[in-house]
Amino acid sequence: MSRSVKKGPCVDEKLMNKVMKQKDSGQKEPIKTWARSCTVVPEFVGHTFLIHNGKIFQKLFVAEDMVGHKLGEFSPTRIFRGHGGIKKKEMKALGR
């Protein structure tokens, strides 16, 4: 079910304040944030964020197309290193 329109987009207030501050002062430094559930609003476009993924902060430069998605969508929490399987075993056997 989608979010009620009445509420407006879910935007982290503190994060929004920081973006606005940067807008006023004109500087653009990456903003560190844990607010993965925060929606990307048009004000964010052109700013850089460091989004926590549970371990590290992943850098994201917000483009216009990203508006409407959540910040967390751009900072994957799992890394798939591939299934080991036969290839790895063969490599090991050859190495020995």
Partner: protein
């Protein structure tokens, strides 16, 4: 066989079924369209007048996205998700379920036929 919306050639079924042969039109939309144009939905497609057919074609083309255009639109939406590097885009790239379904078992529609991994032991239960 009548032609509606480009390439589609529905046969001698009731017209509301025939219309669902067009990509992008299901039963609900089909009935809605026929009601809008005041055509009896149970008429066979072959018994429709030429002007009714052309009216259908024009109405569908004007108001709905179907067939090739719809397919292109879908592909564009997916390409956009991939380009911005969102989680959904990643799932599309990997060919895994996009909407949070489990992948430990099932998910065969996205993953395709089972590939047996040699030497893999059954996971113990409990």
């Amino acid at each position: 066989m009548p032609r509606i919306a480009g390439i589609d050639i529905p046969a001698d079924k009731p017209i509301f079924i025939s219309l669902t042969y067009i990509y992008g039109i299901g039963r609900t939309l089909s009935k809605k369209i026929l009601k809008e144009l005041n055509i009896d939905e149970n008429l066979r497609a072959k018994n429709l007048h030429d002007d009714q057919l052309s009216a259908l074609g024009a109405y569908i083309e004007k108001n709905y996205v179907v067939e090739g255009y719809l397919r292109r639109q879908e592909n564009q939406n997916i390409a956009l998700l991939k380009n911005i590097g969102s989680y959904r885009g990643l799932r599309h790239k990997m060919g895994l379920p996009v909407r949070g379904q489990r992948t430990s078992t099932n998910a065969r529609t996205r993953k395709g036929k089972r590939r047996t991994v040699a030497g893999k032991k059954e996971t113990p239960k409990g």
